[in-house]
């Protein structure tokens, strides 16, 4: 395992530790401005989709980029939360904020169970176990009564946030989603730059050494897994409210693959990479859906190209080119 972690380190551009570097802050400020202005230029639902997937990819990246764990089952948390949120809001009549909260709590619980099992093995096995467990969630979503089988849960009311803000207005929905995204992003930022994040990076770099320094690495890995699953759930629950829909697509293994691609394309282990990757993949899917090209083939080709040619991803390559040196 030690050698594997070494390889990850060499391939991923480590983010600024301690005080964030100036270019990073600048990029963040630009991103924030773009996101605030975006719905006036672009179709708001499209940007909301990008934001949901960006949060999902950031959550996934927390695990692979900072703890060195490749989960191939994150669709279970994203889709599972989407189902719970959709059900509680539509059938139980809960307000959207409570529905999202319950969905997120479900993802956290699921993350605790899956994480506890998966961290018993490492590397490739970890990926296979998470994939198999998430497939179990898929079959449950297919068979259980409340999930609606092939149809999923449709026509979920958006409702009123805190009983006041009418979310059926696309602008108020947009800024709610933006707030959720920024909250999730801030949590990840804070985690990565905290002592906890430093220990995670130490585990990624050299787990036996972290153990020898007295860290109970399994606890750290599990905590990272639960945090990642929780934020993936937050993204999934929000997505269910935005699209008023929870379907099998959300829990399918292709969804787990898509989030891996977003992160890989944007840059594993960079904070902004997953956001860029998610924006690109969602845009691409939108364009391809209108064309005659087979989507999975194009996605697969990008996957292969990323793995063979630029493993640092777009943001990782830019950071490596333009000096963002490791402090």
């Amino acid at each position: 395992m030690a050698t594997e972690i070494h390889a990850v380190r060499r391939e991923t551009a480590a983010p600024a530790t301690g005080r964030p570097a100036m270019p990073g802050l600048l990029a963040l400020a630009v991103l924030l401005l773009v996101l605030i202005a975006a719905p006036y230029v672009l179709y708001p639902v499209f940007v909301m989709k990008v934001l949901c997937f960006a949060l999902f990819a950031c959550a996934f990246n927390l695990l692979i980029g900072f703890a060195g764990l490749l989960s191939f089952g994150h669709a279970a948390f994203f889709g599972g939360a989407a189902y719970i949120t959709a059900h509680t809001v539509k059938v139980w009549g809960l307000p959207p904020e409570l529905g999202i909260l319950l969905g997120t709590a479900f993802a956290a619980t699921l993350g605790l169970a899956f994480g506890a099992l998966a961290i018993r093995r490492q590397g490739i096995y970890f990926a296979m176990i998470t994939l198999a467990l998430s497939q179990m969630v898929f079959f449950m979503a297919l068979q259980l009564k409340f999930t609606g089988g092939e149809d999923g849960i449709q026509a979920v009311p958006r409702g009123h946030l805190f009983g006041v803000i009418d979310l059926s207005q696309s602008m108020s929905m947009y800024y709610t989603v933006l707030a959720v995204f920024l909250f999730g992003f801030a949590v990840i930022w804070r985690t990565v730059h905290s002592p906890f994040g430093q220990v995670l990076k130490a585990i990624r770099e050299n787990e036996p050494r972290a153990i020898s320094l007295g860290y109970r690495t399994d606890h750290y890995k599990l905590m990272a897994f639960v945090l990642s699953a929780t934020l993936a759930g937050l993204a999934g629950g929000t997505k269910a409210i935005v699209f008023q829909l929870a379907t099998l697509t959300d829990v399918q293994w292709q969804m787990s693959g898509a989030v891996v691609l977003m992160t890989l394309l944007g840059g594993i282990g960079t904070l902004l990479g997953p956001v860029v990757g998610a924006a690109l993949v969602v845009t691409l899917e939108n364009y391809l859906a209108a064309s005659n090209l087979p989507v999975p083939v194009v996605i697969g080709v990008i996957f292969v190209a990323c793995v063979l040619l630029f493993r640092r991803g777009i943001v990782g390559e830019i950071a490596a080119r333009f000096g963002n040196k490791r402090p």
Binding site: M128, A132, Q135
Partner: protein, 295 residues
Amino acid sequence: MSTIFGIPPQALFGQLLLGLINGSFYALLSLGLAVIFGMLNVINFAHGALYMLGAFVAWLLLTTAGIGYWWALLLAPLVVGAFGVVLEKTLLSRLYKLDHLYGLLLTFGLALIVEGAFRHFYGVSGQPYPIPDLLRGGQNLGFMFLPNYRGWVVVASLVVCLATWYAIERTKLGAYLRAATENPVLVQAFGINVPLMITATYGFGVALAGLAGVLAAPIYQVSPLMGSNLIIVVFAVVVIGGMGSILGAVLTGYGLGLLEGLTKVFYPEASNIVVFVIMAVVLLIKPAGLFGRER
């Protein structure tokens, strides 16, 4: 006795046979995965797609060239194996010095490409493939009816699994292979062409998947999606068995197929997830897998 545990014996044995058939495919596929993993340290995500490719090659041979089942049984694995050799030579071999996870990601991308391409051209609906004349009909065993073709699949996969085990564990070539798995540098120093062995191993592993695809074609319909759902179950099988031993992979494959069949009889709702539940239990009790060792 007309029932066993309240189940008519016809239904029980019928499902057990179905389980044994599924188990044959689990065994063939997890055997290929284990052989490839042992040599390349790569988990071949494209295995399911190549299984599908095997079935499609057989179907295309029949529909376009009129070449029947028996030739397909020989030709399809060769085609799939050759395709695998090309993949290994051009793509996979660039990643050996990196983290093994990149091998997984690459083969995942390849699986998407192969599957997506077939979906694009042939749609998602299945194409029927006829059972060869020689194996039509069935035997009445007294307690159940055994279709000839299903019996053939079980026997054929058992023979292939045992032959592979024999070749790896009991022959000189197999000894080289095992030695190269342990220490490739030393084996290469003895003048054995290790890169060639790696390529050949990958080709052989995916040829097994192609063979499984041909065997499956008359039972399940030939469809672009036939591999992707199967491969995830096979991953669970591999986690349960551990990839340390060839025989272990085969035994786990058959065992889980049977168990799945039994679940279909007694609690059908859980039959899709029983393998995953067993995986979770095995991880709790013996994390390295039933036949595995920690690497």
